[in-house]
Symmetry: C2
Subunit: 144 residues, 2 copies
DNA sequence: GCATTTTATTTGTAAATGCAAATAAACGAC
DNA sequence: GTCGTTTATTTGCATTTACAAATAAAATGC
């Protein structure tokens, strides 16, 4: 193996860690955390997702997610609702306060993406997105 | 903001989390963790790095790193040595056992990169590396 | 050279995390 | 319809993590 800074998993982690830390600091004053934002963002796309699906989407372990959602419920950002058709599943719904907070974070998130991608041509961004999706899908195969 | 799976920080985190988890499971039977590997990899490149530099390189918070190094010392993988010229700094040195473990992990790490990049043309890999470095550097500017 | 500030690491402590076990509901076989 | 199995979520508990304060040594100003 060559130098560390040619090792893709390293570069990936390093870039991800830096964005995550910076973003987390930015949303803390709003009473939110990066992980909370991930949940809100997933629900913004489609409300009423179940815990398990949220766990997959956000890459947050289910047990961690349970406790994170506990906090978010205390803050009245989301609401747990038992699925009437299948009482095992819990669906998460964003409250009005949750939507308000989401609206405040969205522009911050947009700005972060812009900063991260400063100097990238639109094509380059597309290529990067495609590469990251592909990389993720490749790792999938290890789970069979 | 559009769909989540077009949001680069999301794609970045998702891909990174998946590699990290899978890799961590793989090295656990060897008595190592992903974070330990990061330290070993950084020292493989240059032995005797100081704690602060290791923290930056590995994206592990210094206080977390201290405790991680405690464990690694207990396992006799590394050794702390005070710098004789500047008694504030602690330099980390890999032991023989540490080198042995490193040699066992390197092929696993190589395999993981190969799996992650399966189907990528060499040029595409280079473009990805460049993009990730650039993205990291862009985030740098937030720290001024 | 002494006091002040800066730099490097560690420690205290609370919060976040992850695995495994527990709970609870639905499904399937019979 | 009951029993064993699978699926979804939560809880118990030990580990990891991070922020802030503490320690300790060097550099700086005077």
């Amino acid at each position: 193996m060559g130098p560390l800074d040619a090792y893709v998993p390293y570069l990936l982690n390093r870039a991800g860690a830096r964005i995550a830390t910076a973003f987390g600091e930015e949303v803390r004053p709003l009473g939110a955390s990066l992980q909370m934002w991930r949940v809100l963002a997933a629900l913004r796309e489609r409300d009423g997702r179940r815990m398990g699906d949220l766990s997959v989407m956000t890459s947050i372990e289910v047990s961690t997610l349970t406790r994170l959602v506990d906090q978010m419920e205390k803050k009245r950002l989301v609401e747990r609702r038992r699925d009437p058709d299948d009482a095992r599943v819990v669906a998460l719904h964003v409250t009005t306060a949750g939507k308000r907070l989401t609206r405040r974070i969205v522009p911050i998130a947009e700005r972060y993406e812009q900063v991260a991608l400063k100097g990238f041509a639109p094509v380059e961004v597309q290529v990067l997105r495609a590469a990251l999706r592909r990389l993720y899908a490749n790792m999938d195969e290890l789970y069979d």
